[in-house]
Symmetry: C2
């Protein structure tokens, strides 16, 4: 049988990884897929560099539209990124009846509904394993492996840059700014790291996982997004003393009022496997009603790990494209006419537990007034850690840190309680609030 012909849009880090792995493992992949899979056409603005990478046997063009329109291409891989040109090219590829493989989480988290609907109409597949957690086959696990389950919640470390930064902050006791610079030097963070450190990248991925897990449309605009830029080394240290680690988690959860969808730093118990995912690695915990808790771990980025996911999608398409479109794996796990309209719960309505750090005057009655406010709000306390003033502010200091872990409460109540505590004259600095997930 003749090989599947693939056109590649953009041959940067992931594109060249895809080309190299397809070439290196071509025999093994052909033996699995039952037919060859070959990149026969590449579009890149830098034609000379691209041609040098792929060799003479592959047609390189500078206009991606030529690939998308070519009658000699069966599948288009979109690795351009962003919303603009990438979106237009993906839609054109679909219109010309081509299957699409993409690693573009931003595009799908924002425009997925439009793109998947177009693919559905044309009877083609848009595969995106590489868009979430790089080489970890988490989309496949959620969409196929756990299809028996009513999924209850997902919590994932799905951004390697921030996990590297948090691991370094903990290991070396350094503050965020210092570690970010180191991460940029090492290539773990980009020159403009905003999307990573502000949680936007993780929120794109969490949005895709929430859609697949719960059968809801992608709704990035409803996600709560909080990054790690204001995390202080001392919070990581205090958390550690209380038996917790701080990770940037993407969380999506089925609750009475709908679906929670949120990205923020979270304390998690140090003994959980997820707490021990270090450096730039990714891991996703999925809890299903039948299977219980499962975890998926691996590299979340990088040339060949991401290529591994891109190529797995190519193999899947080469297998499934002969199945009638009604019976393929649906893009968002549920049949398009069987999606749910469960609402994303506003952040003020979510229920979780909290870590609070209050910089307070070292005088009698402070703890009583703070805990009085929490008691008034019906928020019960799990643990308190009061530091000696000397330890925090040096000898003779008149201020100290008061750390409180709470049990579960509604976020709105916590917001009110924090406002009241903040107004106390003995609370000397803005209160730090970090959410806490037991993941039990």
């Amino acid at each position: 049988m003749s090989p599947i012909r693939v056109g590649l849009l953009g041959i940067g880090t992931v594109g060249s990884g895809t080309f190299n792995v397809l070439k290196r493992n071509q025999e093994e992949i052909r033996r699995r897929a039952g037919r060859g899979i070959e990149i026969t056409m590449v579009a890149d603005l830098d034609v000379a560099r691209a041609q040098a990478l792929v060799g003479d046997g592959v047609l390189v063009v500078d206009d991606a539209r030529k690939v998308v329109a070519s009658p000699d291409i069966d599948i288009v891989i979109e690795l351009i990124g962003g919303y603009g040109i990438a979106k237009a090219l993906v839609l054109e590829a679909i219109e010309s009846g081509k299957h699409v493989v993409t690693a573009n989480k931003a595009l799908l988290a924002v425009h997925g509904t439009e793109i998947f609907a177009a693919a559905q109409r044309k009877g083609v597949m848009v595969a995106f394993e590489a868009a979430v957690a790089g080489g970890i086959p988490i989309i496949k696990a959620l969409r196929e492996g756990l299809s028996a389950n009513s999924i209850q919640w997902i919590a994932g470390i799905i951004n390697g840059t921030t996990n590297f930064i948090l691991s370094e902050m903990r290991d070396k006791g350094l503050d965020f700014d210092v570690v970010l610079k180191e991460a940029q030097k090492l290539g773990y963070a980009e020159a403009d790291p905003t999307f990573d450190i502000e949680g936007v990248d993780a929120a794109h991925k969490a949005t895709l996982m929430s859609a697949i897990a719960f059968g809801i449309p992608v709704q990035f605009d409803k996600a709560y997004v909080e990054g790690i830029t204001s995390l202080a080394a001392q919070d990581i240290r205090y958390a550690e003393q209380l038996g917790y680690r701080i990770k940037l988690l993407g969380i999506t959860k089925r609750v009475a009022g709908g679906i929670e969808l949120r990205v923020h730093p979270s304390l998690i118990p140090a003994k959980r496997l997820l707490a021990n995912v270090e450096g730039a690695m990714n891991a996703v915990v999925v809890h299903g009603d039948a299977v219980g808790t499962t975890l998926y771990y691996g590299k979340g980025a990088g040339s060949e790990p991401t290529a591994s996911a891109v190529i797995a999608d190519l193999v899947d398409i080469s297998r499934l494209h002969t199945a009638d479109p009604e019976h393929r794996v649906p893009h968002l796990a549920f049949q398009p006419d069987e999606m749910s309209d469960l609402a994303i719960v506003p952040m003020s309505e979510i229920v979780t537990s909290y870590y609070l750090r209050l910089n307070v005057a070292d005088e009698a009655g402070v703890l009583a007034s703070v805990t009085g406010i929490l008691a008034e709000a019906g928020i019960s306390i799990d643990a308190v850690l009061q530091r000696e003033a000397d330890e925090v502010g040096g000898e003779g200091s008149t201020q100290t840190d008061l750390i409180i872990l709470t049990h579960d409460c509604v976020e709105a109540k916590m917001n009110e309680a924090i406002a009241q505590m903040q107004a106390l004259p003995t609370v000397l600095a803005p209160i730090t609030r970090i959410r806490k997930e037991e993941l039990a």
Copy 2:
């Protein structure tokens, strides 16, 4: 579209879990699969009990052959277990053109070649996600999720009973026999635990994973199998002091001479995620050339976790059965005419590192003679831990424990060196040898 009609052979723990989850999540599963999936016929020797479990709407028979032969059944789930009747029924189901889902690792590890060939001839699927690591979708990850990779090695905790026993031995410092009795009381070990504690169950699963990872036929008879019955509490303690934990691992590895396939207790670095998989949980580490190291974690047994895998297979079949048979996912990941004849390497030829515990006379020259033998054999030493005689044998003791960690060497050389050390008059008891895997 009319529902897929499923016949269930054997309604014990997993069978009733499958029935219950299919019923509880029927709407969600139908929304995913695009059509209903219903158990319409059950075979069980205890008809009355089975009928009480499934209610009046389901036909219950005592003769499994009636299900296998029924024209009203599309997919047969085999949950009888064992080789005899189960094998005959699976083959009959295939002959009558039915797809089969089974959790029977023993059957497939031993008779898989015959069964998959029969399925291939008839154009039906034999799905077996539930046969390895229960609810963890590891077969799907290996066969589809990592299809881009040349898989290098797999190491898994794939037997919950033995992992529970080892976790308890470590936590409580107890010996094997004591913990086994406790595990039996708690239902974590069967009345006859032989298959679990002798490593046979893990070897069945490792055999299936090796076939899928490397495209070789199932070869359970070539697997090296060693259980945990001779592990002593002090070895777990010494390993801990050296920074390792002891786990029963199923290992399969691509090496120059072919494929390693072995199950035995192994020291692994305590900081690895795999070392922190506790209790009855399972986890599998897969290392691919492109993706690097990935890990999959979850419950490896139990009613609903296993049902989760059985039902995922039902959904897969309901999707894939419209694809032409040449393009479905091959049973063993590689197309049947593209299997490899790589040989399973004999145990004497494997290369690994070792933990040795020698009970020796507490006198001058012992360490020199022992290390001399290792040096002579070209085996280099990574670490030595010599206990004070008092600590080991009590005050005034004249014997002590000598623990040695080695670097990599060929098993045959280690066998020879152990025989020579054992012959020393100062070595007072049989030498304990446990293999060590760095999993780096």
